[in-house]
């Protein structure tokens, strides 16, 4: 199952301390086809996280609307899995219990929860740390737990806000390939914020480049490389061309 | 001249009942014996402990407290009886089948708590009527007798007979006391002479400074006598020491005439409403009272006062004055300040009986009548 995400004239603003309005995003309009993998790039502070929050139903737009399969998004839905920019773990829960939280909330029986979590741990490189508390994790380890927590839900759509920001190049590559594998099997809709052009080109069907705040779509680049993709493909010319296109779009913002 | 400062300990809060002390201060009786008295109000056990520990020198404490305290090693001595009648009793509504203490059997009786004068008084009363505590339903209610009584929570209550019955009656008169119309009182003093409140000091003060004791008692005795003779004056002075006491003009007037009318026995009161009533009262009494002492005249006067004042002030304005009048009745005695060994004995018996005292003490050392001024 996967879901279609639509933004129509979507905009968000915040209030500043002195009562002014700070436009943070848009208006932007776009469709994300069901089952497609879209990467979002844009300058820091341009409203990417704000967009993610709008699509997750955590926040209401100041203008326009966001739709999930043609239903206006009014509040969060379990069909949508959200990974925050911060790891946002519960410090009083172990790695294992943080991982299983979404299943616990959904009422999945305990043994199923544990099985699901234990299946995920090795891929996340956390097999030895299931009993650790978040305070004892390195930055990258915490981020991997957060990623695991959203993947375990098996939602129809994934909203990932810089899921690999704190990971080293190797781990990043490995985990993003794992993610791609999973996605190729399950074909959820994925919307992922990243700052890494190569990563975007490797993973995405489509790259949206945002302009500076208030972010609008500066470029909408289709990545037509064939799937399944492998890491080796990134050394090819086609890949280089796409990456160059993205880079150029970013430079223009 | 230089007055010697002295703290006098009283219990609870300022109250019209403490007017003898107020008078002795106000009219300079303490100053006459070279003392500058200030009053401090504390809990009774604290009063006892402070005097026993030599932190303060004098205070007002009840007889049974003296016995209990001495039994537990506090060297305090009772030197002058202030109350002659034990102020505790049971109040019960009329017309509910309670005609005597014996009728309380099986009924719900309120009491501040199972300790202190109320408890001692209750046990004495019950015993005199062939009952024990187990024959009634005793309900600790704190010092909230009127409320509980009028709400029918209790059917009778152990109270201070100079105060609560008046409070309850005045509520009943206003129709504010449930079904209760009229209350009756069964005083402990009717069945037994227990030692009540009096001036207490420590053995050390008694030994080292008997002169001071004499001075204090002398001044207080004068105050007490004045209070007994001149209740309206006592009340008027008390209003300076006790906040929130209403002073209806008629009482202030009375205060001015009492000295002459009661004390001097000569002049008649001026021809006002109350004056006329007063003259009539004392006039009718005159033939029979050629030889009447001022104290006897005063007693007669006190007796008549409530009736006399009935329409001259609001009932609420007179309530505390009436409390004073009924309290004076508890003070008055042939010889002021004196207690007898029998009374001490009776008091001790009750303490032993209720288990508040484990073993009898040498009662002779607990009190002295040596400082009582002559008439």
């Amino acid at each position: 199952m996967s879901a279609r995400i639509t933004a129509s004239e979507l905009a968000a603003a915040y209030q500043t301390p002195d009562g002014d309005t700070l436009p943070a995003l848009g208006p932007v309009s776009f469709h994300v086809e069901a089952g497609s993998f879209v990467c979002l790039l844009g300058p820091s502070g341009c409203g990417k996280s704000t967009l993610i929050r709008l699509l997750a139903g955590l926040q209401r737009p100041s203008r326009g609307q966001a739709l999930l399969d043609n239903h206006v998004i009014m509040q969060p839905s379990r069909r949508v899995g959200l990974m925050f920019q911060d790891a946002n773990l519960m410090p009083w829960r172990t790695v294992l219990d943080n991982l299983t939280l979404p299943l616990e909330v959904a009422g999945v029986p305990k043994d199923e929860r544990l099985a699901a979590a234990r299946a995920l741990l090795p891929a996340l490189g956390l097999a030895d740390f299931e009993a650790a508390y978040p305070g004892a994790l390195s930055g990258g380890m915490a981020q991997r737990v957060a990623l695991g927590r959203v993947l375990i839900q098996k939602p129809d759509a994934l909203l990932l806000d810089e899921p690999f920001g704190a990971l080293d190049a190797m781990t990043r590559e490995r985990i993003s390939l794992d993610l791609m594998d999973m996605w190729e099997r399950q074909r959820q809709t994925v919307l992922m914020v990243t700052h890494d052009i190569h990563e975007a080109a490797l993973l995405a069907d489509r790259v949206l480049v945002f302009s500076r705040r208030p972010g609008r779509i500066a470029a909408d680049i289709r990545v037509t490389l064939p799937r399944p993709r492998r890491l080796e493909d990134t050394y090819g010319a086609a890949f280089g061309q796409i990456a160059g296109q993205v880079r150029a779009a970013i430079s223009r913002t | 001249q230089d007055l010697q400062p002295l703290t006098f300990l009283l219990t609870f809060v300022p109250n019209v009942q403490f007017s003898p002390l107020y008078i002795a201060i106000e009219k300079g009786y303490f100053a006459d014996v070279g003392l500058d008295v200030t009053i401090e109000h504390l809990d009774e056990p604290v009063v006892v402990d402070l005097i026993a520990a030599g932190q303060r020198q004098f205070g007002m404490v009840s007889g049974e407290e003296v016995i209990k305290a001495r039994a537990k090693g506090r060297p305090i001595v009772y030197t002058y009886a202030w109350f002659h009648r034990y102020p505790v009793g049971i109040v019960a509504p009329e017309g509910t089948g309670i005609e005597s203490v014996a009728d309380l059997a099986g009924r719900k009786v309120g009491i501040p708590g199972r300790f202190g004068a109320s408890y001692n008084g209750l046990i004495t009363l019950l015993a005199a009527n062939g009952l024990t505590e187990d024959d009634i339903q005793l309900e600790p209610i704190g010092f909230n007798a009127p409320e509980n009584f009028c709400k029918g929570i209790v059917e009778a209550s152990v109270v201070y007979i100079n105060n609560e019955p008046l409070q309850i009656q005045s509520r009943a008169d206003m129709g504010d006391c449930g079904d209760v119309k009229q209350v009756q009182v069964f005083p402990v003093a009717d069945v037994s002479a227990l030692v009540s409140n009096g001036i207490v000091t420590s053995e050390a003060v008694l030994a080292d400074n008997p002169e001071l004791v004499r001075r204090v008692i002398t001044a207080y005795d004068r105050g007490l006598r004045d209070a007994i003779l001149y209740p309206a004056e006592a009340y008027t002075i008390a209003t300076k020491y006790v906040e929130n006491l209403p002073l209806p003009p008629v009482l202030a007037q009375l205060a001015l005439w009492e000295q002459t009318v009661i004390g001097g026995m000569t002049a008649a009161a001026p021809p006002t409403v109350v004056g006329d009533r007063l003259n009539a009262l004392l006039g009718t009494a005159e033939p029979a009272s050629e030889e009447m002492t001022p104290r006897a005249r005063a007693a007669q006067y006190r007796e008549a006062l409530p009736e006399l004042l009935i329409d001259l002030a609001e009932p609420v304005e007179l309530l505390q004055f009436r409390v004073l009048l009924s309290t004076i009745a508890l003070w008055d005695a042939d010889v002021l300040g004196q207690t007898t060994l029998e009374a001490w004995q009776a008091t001790q018996d009750i303490l032993l009986q209720t288990g508040q005292l484990k073993a009898p003490i040498a009662l002779e050392a607990a009190f002295t009548n040596a400082f009582i001024p002559g008439e």
């Binding site: 915040y14 209401r60 100041s62 509040q75 | 609870f12 809060v13 604290v46 402990d49 009028c150």
Partner: protein, 277 residues
């Protein structure tokens, strides 16, 4: 004024609020509603007295109480007693809170101190005043000092506990930050520990502020010549229920003002919470 002045959510997008996030309160209604609830209370009171559920000497009518209030305000007595109590309350609060802050800080830092002191402190807190009344009077007399002591004693514990939990709850990453800047102990205290622990400290202060009133009154019950506690006892001894109520209401107003001050301070000190998540 309110129990806790903090808005519950971060900067609010300029939009309809989300389900579950209540509307921000208008200043106007914020002021109006307490008055309204006061009015309702008064009405309820009036109704109870009019139904004559209880005799007037147990629950007197609002009118009788008002009359009494006017009387004792007019002759200055209420002010005398209230100011006496207020002095004791404020001093007790100050002494208790400062002692609790100092000791709480020390305890938060030292497990040893905690182990040594906690039995004593819990004992102090759970001992009723009457039990040590004689010593209280011997040591501190029957004047202001005794009342300050009883007030400070009751205030001390809640403030202490909240200070300990507040200081211990300071994020260790921020501690490390200040250590990396070679901040002095005092700087760490002022620039990190106090602001980070502020919500919990203020919550302790609010509890303390209302308890301080009770503490001073208890002191006045033990012994006093003036003060609202004294006035309550006096009025009770005279069965003057309206005066009891006037005195109690004055206490309430006093507690309310102290509490309100703490709330006001909280609103200022934690304004940043309203300005970010």
């Amino acid at each position: 004024m309110q129990l806790n002045a903090l808005p519950k959510s971060p900067t609010r997008p300029l939009t309809l609020p989300l389900a579950g996030r209540p509307h921000p309160f208008r200043r106007f209604s914020r002021r109006l509603i307490p008055l309204l609830s006061l009015g309702l209370l008064l009405l309820g009171w009036q109704v109870v007295t009019m139904l004559e559920l209880y005799p007037a000497f147990i629950i007197p009518s609002p009118a009788a109480v008002l009359e009494k209030a006017i009387e004792v305000t007019g002759d200055g007595r209420l002010w005398l007693h209230a100011s006496t109590t207020l002095a004791a309350v404020l001093s007790g609060l100050a002494v208790g809170v400062l002692a609790a802050l100092a000791l709480g800080y020390a305890i938060a830092k030292s497990v040893l101190l905690e182990t040594v002191l906690s039995p004593v402190i819990v004992a102090l807190q759970s001992t009723p005043v009457v039990a040590y009344a004689p010593l209280l009077i011997i040591w501190f007399g029957s004047g202001l000092t005794s009342k300050i002591v009883t007030g400070a004693l009751i205030v001390f514990f809640p403030m202490l506990i909240n200070t300990v939990v507040g200081i211990r709850g300071v994020p260790s990453d921020l501690r490390d930050l200040l250590r990396s800047m070679e901040a002095t102990r005092w700087q760490t205290f002022v620039k990190l520990e106090v602001p980070a622990a502020m919500p919990v400290l203020l919550s302790g202060l609010k509890i303390s502020a209302t308890l301080a009133v009770i503490g001073a009154v208890v002191g006045e019950f033990v012994s006093a010549n003036a003060g609202l506690g004294f006035l309550i006892n006096l009025a009770r001894s005279q069965y003057d229920t309206p005066l009891v109520i006037v005195a109690v209401l004055t206490l309430t107003v006093m507690a309310r003002l102290l509490y309100g001050t703490a709330t006001w301070f909280e609103r200022r000190a934690l304004a940043w919470r309203a300005r970010g998540r």
